[in-house]
């Protein structure tokens, strides 16, 4: 090691004042909640830190908390990059996030009920009919179906950012099969192991109560006539990239982790095949997409589903969480109507801000977008995982032309938003062996049940590890941080 070894870990932290730093204010002074943390981290040399970091990585790897990457026909196991410097959210800010997340979940649930029943919000002209009729995720089979307990989006993942104005904005609501919650818990475990001396200086909310709350939520939406429901987690199988999470959740809830082939339907009831014969299943937390759950009703080639499952669901003999057809509401075009949706169903003003959105389906807005691509983010409305996103100020002239063409060909498919400046957080970068500013967001996890709701006090702070990159999804090379929500 060279002479750097004795430098403290923040001595070479470069602050770009253009960016909103969550830890340091514009004068370079650490914010209150972080002062103690910086002092404690300051006791470590870079060398110490490198060691701790490597140990934490090895621990993830040995525990098999990995995802698979396909590269050159080889399958490689990789850990989800993890940063040991936590993000802290104080109790005041958290209260806003929590209330805002619940408000959105409830509004979305009412919205889903409405568009699968009376469709009043469309008839009243608040949301255009076209957004539903042209959505691939609007399932006609769900029209008139009453999900047990009246709940559609039992589990929602809301992605929130802090903009350079210091306010939180929602980027999107994920209400199909939002993933990532297992990383929240793993990050906490890894951080506690590595830096236990730091942890006890803060009063931080626990995150390990997620599974018990999830189980309570699932049990609260049991089908009619069931006394003690048998809940299971349905996974596409061990080759799915989120398999670790599926197995973690099943284990933490103490329920079976099933694959489609473990289940069968008889007389519209669902059973699992056990060593002692069939046992009835009442609630399925399914991590299989809508179109794959039942080959007799949806994609016939799906080997992940259960023939007859949807018929059992329509009969009310099984509860699926999330309900089929929720995808229509996490369409990014619906997102832009969230303020109106909240107002319509709850008669409240949104607690969390929406990012202003231009709809390419509206001719005047389309023209604006086509002319201002360089200062906008263009997103396809129906893709998840950060795919298909174009960030205007990163595009060459030719690339802008290509994007313009694509939008013109299918305006309904795109929305555009101003380029938001995500806040930055000090993140340890392996290559430079130092802390650097990196953009972060926050995925929160909200549960909605029959007369029960829960927001995980914490969340996944995702980090865009490439310098200047704004896309934080793990599929795009993002990492994550432990997120501390402080107690009052």
């Amino acid at each position: 090691m060279n002479s750097d070894a004795n430098k403290t870990i923040f001595s070479s932290y470069n602050k770009n004042v253009q960016l909103f730093d969550e830890v340091f204010d514009s004068n370079g002074v650490a914010k209150n909640v972080y002062q103690k943390l910086l002092e404690l981290y300051g006791n470590h040399s870079i060398q110490d830190y490198v060691q701790l970091n490597n140990k934490a990585k090895a621990s993830f790897f040995n525990q098999g908390i990995t995802f698979q990457v396909y590269d050159n026909k080889m399958t490689q196991e990789k850990i989800f990059p993890f940063d040991l410097f936590p993000r802290i959210i104080d109790e005041g800010e958290w209260e806003i996030i929590e209330k805002g997340a619940i408000q959105r979940s409830k509004a979305l649930n009412l919205f889903l009920w409405d568009i699968y029943h009376d469709k009043k919000i469309i008839k009243d002209g608040i949301v255009p009919l076209d957004l539903i009729s042209s959505s691939a995720n609007y399932l006609h089979q769900m029209i008139g179906v009453d999900p047990p307990g009246g709940i559609y989006n039992h589990i929602s993942g809301t992605d929130i950012i802090k903009h350079s104005d210091g306010n939180y904005y929602v980027l999107e609501d994920n209400i199909r099969c939002p993933s990532g919650v297992s990383y929240v818990i793993c990050n906490r475990t890894a951080l506690k192991r590595a830096l236990f001396g730091v942890f006890n200086h803060y009063k931080t909310h626990s995150v390990t109560n997620y599974a018990e709350n999830l189980l309570e939520i699932l049990e609260s939406v049991k089908p009619k006539g069931v006394d003690i429901p048998n809940c299971v987690v349905l996974t596409p199988g061990m080759h799915n990239s989120a398999f670790y999470e599926h197995s973690y959740l099943a284990k933490a809830m103490g329920v079976e982790l099933v694959e489609g082939r473990d289940l069968f339907v008889e007389n519209d009831f669902v059973y699992m095949k056990t060593i002692r014969g069939p046992i009835k299943v009442d609630v399925i937390y399914r991590r299989v997409d809508d179109l794959f759950i039942d080959p007799l009703e949806f994609k016939p080639e799906s080997a992940l589903g259960v023939p007859g499952l949807f018929a059992a669901y329509r009969k009310g003999n099984i509860c699926l969480a999330n309900a089929p057809g929720t995808g229509v509401a996490d369409d990014k075009a619906i997102y832009t109507y969230m303020p109106q949706i909240i107002k319509y169903y709850l008669d409240e003003t949104p607690i969390l801000n929406n990012v202003h959105t231009y709809h390419c389906s509206r001719p005047d807005e389309l023209n604006y977008v086509l002319e201002h691509i360089h200062e906008l983010v263009i997103k396809p409305v129906d893709e998840a995982g950060g795919y298909g996103i174009s960030i205007g100020n990163r595009l060459t002239k030719n690339e802008i032309k290509v994007v313009q063409q694509e939008i013109k060909q299918n305006p309904r498919k795109y929305i555009a938003q101003p380029i938001m400046s995500l806040s930055v957080h000090p993140t340890y970068i392996d290559d430079s062996e130092s802390f650097e500013q990196r953009h972060i967001d926050l995925r929160t996890f909200t549960l909605l049940g029959n007369e029960k709701e829960f927001v995980l006090k914490g969340g996944l702070s995702r980090v865009a590890l490439k310098r200047g990159n704004l896309i934080v999804n793990s599929s795009q090379g993002g990492g994550s941080k432990d997120t501390w929500v402080l107690k009052k």
């Binding site: 040995n62 098999g64 987690v233 284990k251 099933v258 095949k273």
Partner: protein, 315 residues
Amino acid sequence: MLARVANNLFWMGRYIERAEHVARYLNVNYFSSLDAPNELSQSRQFVLRSMMFLVGEPIGDDSIELKEEDILYNIGLNPLQPYSVINNVKSARENANSARDLISTELYESINKFYHFVINYSVADFTKKGLYDFTVNVTEMTAILRGKIRGTLLHDEVYAIIMLGINLERATQVIRIINAKYNDAVKAKGSYGDQIGHSFEWITLLKCVESYDMMRRYYKKTPTSISTLEFLILNPDCPRSVINSINQVHKHIRVLDESKTPNKNSTAFLISKVKGEYDYKFAEEIEEDIQGFIEKILNNLVQISLKMENEFFNY
């Protein structure tokens, strides 16, 4: 428990046990042959053929010259050979993955480390200088796994099914090793004027199943064919003996089938029947027709496994 997952646990147990025996067979045969008392037992070709015999690919043609590096690679680290240690470990982990929610974090972590150790082992190192290191590590890691299975799992159905897999596989591997070494002893017969009953191969055999020290303590004499067979097949106190494994299988099946008088078509009934037969066997009887005995008991073990699959793992 799900039938599919029970099947995964059963096979996880079997693959762990199989990896261990194959690895130890490589180690013991290779290193004890180096200073074996007769020329044939020292011969590379003889040892390599014995290894191939064990993994079920006997080389009949004596004129074929086997290459040491190839054989060691095939049995140790060749991912394309179904019998290789690396494949057994891969399969063990794959089965563990499917049952991950049912096994302890500690056990999973150990299996995972084991897997990464094996798949990252350098092939060049292994075939040139790493045979000892690799095989010792494999056998030690499997010992850790046995400890984690015993110490970090609730002794319920999950445990019973893993133990059924481990013990059925152990009985099978011990029999296969006896078969391989018996075959070696027959070949080595007379090469230094000794009888098959006092062959050097019996010591190797005992070492292959870590039973040499126990055997010496029990008989206080140099092993003979009769005493070795008696010890490895019929001594219920020897933890590697066939009868000990069958007793374990008998004990663990009762967790899955609690009926007092098992149905005559059940796995529990078949296990009791097999156990009854070996409870009253004696070594001389076995030695009379050792080939016939080996075939019969392997067949018994296969039948038990098949019956289990039909009764409990059918999905």
